[in-house]
Symmetry: D2
Subunit: 401 residues, 4 copies
Amino acid sequence: MTQLFQSEKVKDLLPKIYSFVKDEIIPHESAMLSKPFQESELLLNGLRDKVKSEDWWNPHLPVNLGGLGLSLVEFAQISEVLANTPLGHYIFNCQAPDIGNMELLIHHGSAHIKEQYLNPLMNGEIRSCFSMTEPEFAGSNPVLMATQAIKEGSNFTINGHKWFTTAADGAAFAIVMAVTNSNATRPYQRASLIIVPTTTAGFNLVRNISIMGEKGSGYLSHAEIQYEDCKVPIENLIGEEGQGFALAQERLGSGRIHHCMRWIGICERAFEMMCQRAVKRELSPGVKLGEKQTIQNWIAESRAEINAARLMVLHTAYEMEKSGAKAVRNEISTIKFFVADILQKVLDRSIQTHGALGITDDLVLSFWYRHERGARIYDGPDEVHKSVVARNILKGFGLQV
Amino acid sequence: MTQLFQSEKVKDLLPKIYSFVKDEIIPHESAMLSKPFQESELLLNGLRDKVKSEDWWNPHLPVNLGGLGLSLVEFAQISEVLANTPLGHYIFNCQAPDIGNMELLIHHGSAHIKEQYLNPLMNGEIRSCFSMTEPEFAGSNPVLMATQAIKEGSNFTINGHKWFTTAADGAAFAIVMAVTNSNATRPYQRASLIIVPTTTAGFNLVRNISIMGEKGSGYLSHAEIQYEDCKVPIENLIGEEGQGFALAQERLGSGRIHHCMRWIGICERAFEMMCQRAVKRELSPGVKLGEKQTIQNWIAESRAEINAARLMVLHTAYEMEKSGAKAVRNEISTIKFFVADILQKVLDRSIQTHGALGITDDLVLSFWYRHERGARIYDGPDEVHKSVVARNILKGFGLQV
Amino acid sequence: MTQLFQSEKVKDLLPKIYSFVKDEIIPHESAMLSKPFQESELLLNGLRDKVKSEDWWNPHLPVNLGGLGLSLVEFAQISEVLANTPLGHYIFNCQAPDIGNMELLIHHGSAHIKEQYLNPLMNGEIRSCFSMTEPEFAGSNPVLMATQAIKEGSNFTINGHKWFTTAADGAAFAIVMAVTNSNATRPYQRASLIIVPTTTAGFNLVRNISIMGEKGSGYLSHAEIQYEDCKVPIENLIGEEGQGFALAQERLGSGRIHHCMRWIGICERAFEMMCQRAVKRELSPGVKLGEKQTIQNWIAESRAEINAARLMVLHTAYEMEKSGAKAVRNEISTIKFFVADILQKVLDRSIQTHGALGITDDLVLSFWYRHERGARIYDGPDEVHKSVVARNILKGFGLQV
Amino acid sequence: MTQLFQSEKVKDLLPKIYSFVKDEIIPHESAMLSKPFQESELLLNGLRDKVKSEDWWNPHLPVNLGGLGLSLVEFAQISEVLANTPLGHYIFNCQAPDIGNMELLIHHGSAHIKEQYLNPLMNGEIRSCFSMTEPEFAGSNPVLMATQAIKEGSNFTINGHKWFTTAADGAAFAIVMAVTNSNATRPYQRASLIIVPTTTAGFNLVRNISIMGEKGSGYLSHAEIQYEDCKVPIENLIGEEGQGFALAQERLGSGRIHHCMRWIGICERAFEMMCQRAVKRELSPGVKLGEKQTIQNWIAESRAEINAARLMVLHTAYEMEKSGAKAVRNEISTIKFFVADILQKVLDRSIQTHGALGITDDLVLSFWYRHERGARIYDGPDEVHKSVVARNILKGFGLQV
């Protein structure tokens, strides 16, 4: 791991948190992933208590909100280490989608919303979800959306069909993207973000979608939801009417940094497992797998690619802090497809290095191989990001698009 | 699909079986894959009855054993079509590992074995499994093996630890590879194949291994097995003592043709789904996914690769029939890694074309993406096959290995 | 090499021609490629005389025109062997672009044209060229063309700018594509093919374009040509006015088969050199390059890909003979991009296997690496062929393009 | 280009030097590359004079030796910009192999050597070469070497056969690696570096090797040399006897940083040309090449990869300055193969984007495509670097190699 971006704070924190992940979380990893989420909650809460007692809770939040007061670049490096195991972020209360929702509410929630939704979220007492994607429309074109929130008296009445609402199962509330101003001239000003408690009548969780062989449950699930005449008070609006896309975009900016660092943390674990296997597995008496040149190629290429990925992401975070999210819009899209590709390659190589064991659920590799196949799809498919990046570059050369 | 290798028999059979697969099996596919295997058996048996009534049962067997009397090249093409859906082969009673076991018992089983094990297998009354791989040893080096069968009186006493014994759950018997002649000079002459009824004391099915998120059950499972003082009569030996590897090798020859054609059938289904999605999904009003050049690249490249794969496999089958399995040993290894690679690429592209839907279990793509990740590993990892092929070629140029 | 497509005729011819290529041509290869083409002509003519004396001259022509009367599938296999060395086809008088021009004149030339141009071409007394591509327009869109042929009295007056007119230097005549009917409703009916003797006033060979480091000369060159008030008699029209694209398309059909088989011949030579190097080069005393797994991967993958390429091309030729060029239009585009890609990969691996020697002109690999980089560009860039193939496939699924 | 590593000095220099390269050198590029080197020398010397008058001469040297006193990280960024055109470094007198030779002589040359060889080299009055690679031995294993320097009286008598001695044609002296201590216990302590003036009897330049179609000449050439009883005074030894490999290794460390930054400069120019072409070339009236998604993919991927490459190299240079060359040995090997691969991909995409024009020598792309194919071979083939990196990593996991 590069020291280039390591502040004193990070240099101090990283090895401690790394040890905690290795010694306190990973030993329970397999048990936690092999049973319904609820059954792990006791254990998880115990670990959360330890995190709190170490004063590591909410590492992403500013000091005045009880967090570690880290810069984006600093938190990114912590995030990588937490991602060495699937529930690392959860244990530190900085898991998606809650981390993004917290940021959103901090900056755009009313006092009432902060009181009622943000505070228990920051305390880890509740979970939340973000309900945006619709099955009938291409996620790559977010203005295509059928869910509507009609203002009636003091309420919004929401109707619509969402899916891939991550972690809705067991969440206390959803932040729903819905069209409120269908007549706005610009398509990007038609939708709003509205808080919907999951206990609201008409919030119908149809199912946890079975994804790559697993329905999952609780925090580890992705729901399909029907909003049927679902009424919530107008105060549940986040920010202004018509700001939905702008806020979601803002939420996505640092969100993509978080995703990418998480992927790098996964890569590092997969890389470590690949190396451990290579030095242990015998092909014939005395001949180790790691002596085969193909394995060596995979190790060298993976090392190069992970290093490159980390430098790219941290550099983007650094520029983002220096010049703002808008200035690095293209870099944000670039790391999205660049790192997602590397993630898949490294996981694939690590699995192949493990042979038959690699495809079993005895190892965490299979969990990631399945659940991170989505990395190239969610938050906009890589293909869309590539087009966006290229068109922006070509505009600079005079292309009129 | 090429007509080059299509005999009159195949020209007649293919469209009929294709229609049966499309109209009678695929509509039940999703239901069957989403519940425990046993719960599907009623439905599956009904479909098997239809197959029998059409006289398509056991298409791989010679006429005198009640089969269709197809050549390897002919059966390969039927096999491709059956592979358009995961349970196609099962419904025709030509599913691995039973198909390989039938071939083995036909050629090397004693009259007693044929009576007791082969006949009910051919009738579809029982299932079987093949118990070879051991977790402690690299599958790429089959002579590394710890399972032993000690002759004691009229019995073999078997002790050992196997895994990836496919479809052991619910099988009537296993064919076990065990060392019987540990002192044989050549390592390849130390093991034998022995039939072990799964009801034998000491045949302990430890677990169905959870693979890529699914434990599976019944025919759709892969077991870990402990053989503990497991005693079977000496008559359960298949062929001669010490012939284990030779017989397994023989079984693998046509087995790899079968695997490869199955992969091609999967590719064709994934390809068809990709095209259907491309013409249906809208990116914006009136603009179809299939108009994007990246999708077009995937379609053109997939078409080219699947066509190439099929020609390679059918050509190998054709040469195998003409010149024998030994003459095409290198071609057999070549198609193994060549087609497995294409399989993974085509599945990946089809999933990506489907976006979020592609990673859900609403489509069959996820099933294959998970369960066929093993294609590059089982029957020898691709890396081993590549080395074997290259060394054989280089021997022809004078390399001394 | 597969025997599947080998008729008795081919089985007899192939080894003989292969020996001739190895023993009579390749020993002179390096000398011929390292000096101006003219200086090699004496030697080349001697080899051509041997070919004539063996009755192998014009292998592509029907018997009544003095050729070998081979089917397309048969000639393709001869063509592969001739392509083991860059001047193989030339020595047999079946080199591009002359082979395509002969076919064109045989089917569409008037008696006068045959007498004056075809006969000396078939005798190897003259060479010809095909003048179509224009620097100002994308070759992928052939209807974009500025060259005009205006009928004035008994002449066409041609004005235009062409380049990549292969082998114009020293050719006796060019077949020029020019717009004759600019008002034709359909763009594809506007151009015609016209014979222009290179001695005509206004046929100005501007330069042999330096390509990948070499201007070349004579047959081994690619010219830029300005046609300036270049007048030729109306009888020099090939076929009918407005048929230019149709005839060029017809010429391209079998032309792509020829190109692809030529590329496969190049691959086989590069593959052989790679293997020879692998068994000879020592990395340390007693350790041969071919023992390294990376080299083994390249050899196995190359073997697989070349085999696949050959089966694809021969299968396409077979279908083309059975069902006509139109029926295999998509297959023709498919082999174009599929084989061009393999060609580049195999050449690259063979060069890398040779280390520093591989990039020198001491070996023929560098000649092909440079001159066949165009394979992915000429006759339509691979990217265009992929789009064409995909759109045709998607039309079958209902896409309206 | 990232600003992360840009000191004030670099921020000031970069745009000026960039303008000089664009405005003063690139306009002459095509003319200089299309004729023998000697014929360009008048022009080159004029440009060198301008560089001197701007006080940019010898940017790599410390201030006390008349250079710019740049850190490695700083110089690397200047080097990238100079590499936008093939003769940029030459014009600034920081071209390989002279730059490496200067560093070597500065640190290890005697006063006499500095006076006689280093000073005129720093003044640009003479050129030099480095004579190490031998055709009979794998460059990947540098201890395999047959050239010998026998001490006889006050002389070394050198006999041996070298090739790929870059820029020997016209050089004033060669630094020769030769075995002086064949009995040293450790193979790495057997050779020495010795200066041989090219006018010495027995220094026989056999030929400029024709590489990828060009023999080249002068600075732009790679020679084969026979050393036949070539006698030079013992004072011509650089450093100590037996230090040859250690010194060459030291020379290579920063040398690889230089190479990699040069490759990135090439990538940037190729990238710029690709974008310019994409916005200019029309596929049909009004439709620009840059609107095609495949081109967009290439642009986005190239942008990502070049950015990653630069961060990797500058980060390595930064660590090298902070912790020494030994600490970053693995990183040095990593950037070598990582950047060489990207270089080839970016060049290939830019050529393909230019279509037929891309393979002509009308553009500089062909020059690099040919001459940088060696990037994956020289200084150790990428395959060797990957093995080295992997084995070092695996040692950390306990592999005993």
